[in-house]
Amino acid sequence: MGVRKIDVALCNGCGICVDHCPMDVLRLDPETKKAFIQYIRDCQSCFLCETECPQSAIYCLPVHERRMVTAW
């Protein structure tokens, strides 16, 4: 829900974001060797990918992707 973009020009394909994503949202493209957002719907807005990216290639925004079911 939070991850918005991965800058392919900056991504060096290290795969840290893919390994560390708690929701398994990201994947490495086998051909380009760049990370991409495969399962956006399952992103939990934890921002780990952004904070851990050594290239600062990832940008997240703390907004909900779909209307959340909330207390009221």
Binding site: M1, G2, D19, H20, C21, P22, M23, D24, Q38, Y39, R41, D42, Q44, S45, C46, F47, L48, T51, L61, P62, V63, H64, M68, V69, T70, A71, W72
Partner: protein, 579 residues
């Protein structure tokens, strides 16, 4: 075609990569285990709730705090149905554990003399603080240094047992889809509690997997109805994570829709710093009376305070800046605040040695029932350390290793991959949405009433019977989501059934049973699978064995008493009527 990977000769298998599991793994290794394996469906140190811990830890300082008073306060906040001996052990262990974490490289806030600094947080005793979320980096590294073998991206889908003894577990890899078999002497569940993937960023990967594993393996669970916290409270319209403890510690206030600082009336002494249960109750009562939305106001903070928050909560503060709630060193807007999805914690019923009802199975952190281990990082660590140590003792006493039963293994394998075999069906997200609509609205599980609980249970049974059996997965990622949706449905059923059984207000408010009944309900609600059906029963708390006693009387719950004093409700015919 998926491969089968066998990991054999494990002394202690730890499922879960948060602080409790990591501590269990470290302690197991330190206590002499040969082979300790830690499995996480995400990445050890990067999943669950611990790695997003908001910089605060509740530690007992032997030289400064009163042990009996702290046991009393925690027992009271757990509604007097705490396993008080475990609570006391946790407090006694916590200072040493703090020192160990400090040595492992956790970056705690310290005074000029190198002593741990303590500041006011939520609750009566001051808290210690650490910077950012490097806590789990340090602890995960400590585990690897101790020789723990970590398996990441492996989701566990079944526990293996032999003659009623846990002998390991099975799961699958999220990238390759491969089937994993772990053969162990002892197994420690450290899979946390769950929030139904609701409003709480960073905590949507804890989906009650451990509860489901244990339930299906026949272990006894408890506490499904009375969480040690009903729900957390969070920004309602943004995905910005934990930090409330610090905000209210600095003087953040809650205002309702009329601009009233309502916590002054619900708890005049602690106000916003009251316990989570009181805060949640107050939020729900305000909503019930039409005074939602509710806002957190920090616009009066000085630049110094904002800078201090940035130091302790760098991520949350950066996100507030990104959505223009913080500009420079100033909060420029109030923030709508709301209870998250209800916490569900049908945890494992554990003995004083953190052993579950199934031999060889242990639990720690929030995988245990709420009466055994309080929520929070300190208790995750202390319970993890003890579970790890006891698991090693058990493993060492086992003469020979029991190998898994091939038939059971094949059956678990078939169940694991079943959603992948379906060509069409219902997507996990659809099931999740229906489930959330049943359990997340505040008047379902936060502010309870028998009729509403029954209606929610009907919805959940419908999901269980007509949706879960059709869950479909397109690849191993969706397979994880399908198992999570199934596990959450099971958890919701336990949650609602246990809530219905407890006909009183204790840790949760019931409109139809507003009394805290210490004559009839100093009991735990236990749940177990028997002959394929869910069986629940109450069992008396052995309170006479514990240091803190409570009068055997039936009294109006203190929050209902407050509401009555404030003329919000009357009690008629044994139930609450809203004025």
């Amino acid at each position: 075609m998926t491969q089968e990977v066998r990991v054999t000769d494990i002394d202690v298998l730890v499922i879960g990569g948060g602080l409790a599991g990591t501590y269990a793994a470290i302690r197991a290794k330190e206590s002499g285990a040969n082979k300790v394996v830690q499995v996480d469906k995400g990445h050890v140190g990067k999943s669950g709730n611990s790695c997003f811990g908001a910089g605060v830890m509740h530690v007992f300082f032997p030289e400064q705090d009163d042990l009996e008073d702290r046991v009393r306060r925690l027992s009271r906040s757990l509604g007097y149905i705490a396993q008080q001996d475990l609570i006391q052990e946790h407090l006694e262990d916590s200072f040493q554990i703090l020192g160990e974490m400090d040595s492992a490289g956790v970056d705690f806030v310290k005074g000029a003399g190198g002593e741990f600094e303590r500041r006011p947080g939520r609750g009566y005793y001051p808290v210690v603080m650490f910077r950012g979320f490097q806590l789990m980096d340090a602890m995960s590294k400590a585990a690897r240094k101790a020789g723990v073998e970590q398996f990441n991206k492996v989701m566990m889908t079944g526990l293996l047992s032999r003659d009623g003894i846990a002998v390991g577990g099975v799961g699958f890899n999220l990238l390759s889809g491969d089937f994993y078999v772990f053969e162990s002497k002892a197994t420690v569940l450290a899979t946390g509690s769950t929030w139904y993937k609701g409003l709480l960023p960073g905590q949507r990967d804890t989906t009650g997997d451990g509860y489901a594993l244990a339930y299906r393996a026949g272990a006894v669970l408890s506490g499904a109805e009375n969480n040690d916290m009903l729900a957390n409270l969070m920004p309602a319209r943004y995905d910005i994570g934990p930090g409330m403890n610090k905000y209210v510690g600095e003087g953040g206030v809650f205002l309702n829709a009329t601009g009233e600082r309502f916590m002054e009336k619900y708890n005049p002494r602690l106000k916003e710093r009251a316990g989570l249960r009181i805060l949640t109750g107050a939020f729900c009562m305000e909503a019930k009376q039409g005074r939602a939305p509710i806002f957190m106001d920090m616009t009066h903070f000085s630049p110094d305070q904002v800078r201090r928050l940035k130091e302790v909560l760098p991520l949350a503060m950066a996100m507030f800046e990104r959505v223009r709630i913080v500009e420079g060193d100033q909060f420029v807007k109030r923030i709508e605040w709301m209870p998250c999805a209800p916490v569900a914690r049908p945890g494992l019923m554990v003995s004083n040695k953190f052993e579950a009802s199934l031999a060889g199975l242990y639990a720690c952190g929030e995988a245990t029932s709420p009466q055994a281990v309080v929520t929070g990082l300190a208790a995750a660590a202390t319970s993890g350390a003890r579970a790890g140590r006891y698991a090693v003792q058990y493993a060492a006493e086992m003469d020979s290793r029991l190998l898994p039963d091939r038939e059971q293994l094949e059956e678990l394998k078939e169940v694991t991959y079943r959603p992948l075999q379906r060509r069409d069906g219902i997507e996990p997200d659809q099931v999740l949405l229906l489930l959330q609509e049943a359990v997340v609205p505040y008047d379902s599980l936060l502010l309870r009433d028998g009729e509403r609980l029954k209606a929610a249970l009907q919805d959940v049974e419908e999901i269980r019977d007509s949706q879960v059996p059709l869950l479909v997965a397109y690849d191993p990622h969706y397979l994880r989501m399908a198992h999570e949706a199934a596990n959450l449905t099971l958890v919701a059923e336990m949650h609602l059934r246990a809530a219905l059984l407890r006909t009183e207000s204790r840790t949760a408010l019931r409109e139809d049973y507003p009394y805290m009944d210490n004559e009839a309900w100093l009991q735990w609600v236990l749940v177990k699978r028997r002959d394929g059906a869910m069986e629940l029963w109450p069992e008396p708390v052995p309170i006479e064995r514990y240091p803190i006693q409570v009068e055997r009387s039936k009294i109006l719950h203190h929050l209902w008493q407050t509401a009555q004093d404030l003329r919000m409700v009357t009690i008629q015919g044994g139930r609450v009527r809203w004025v």
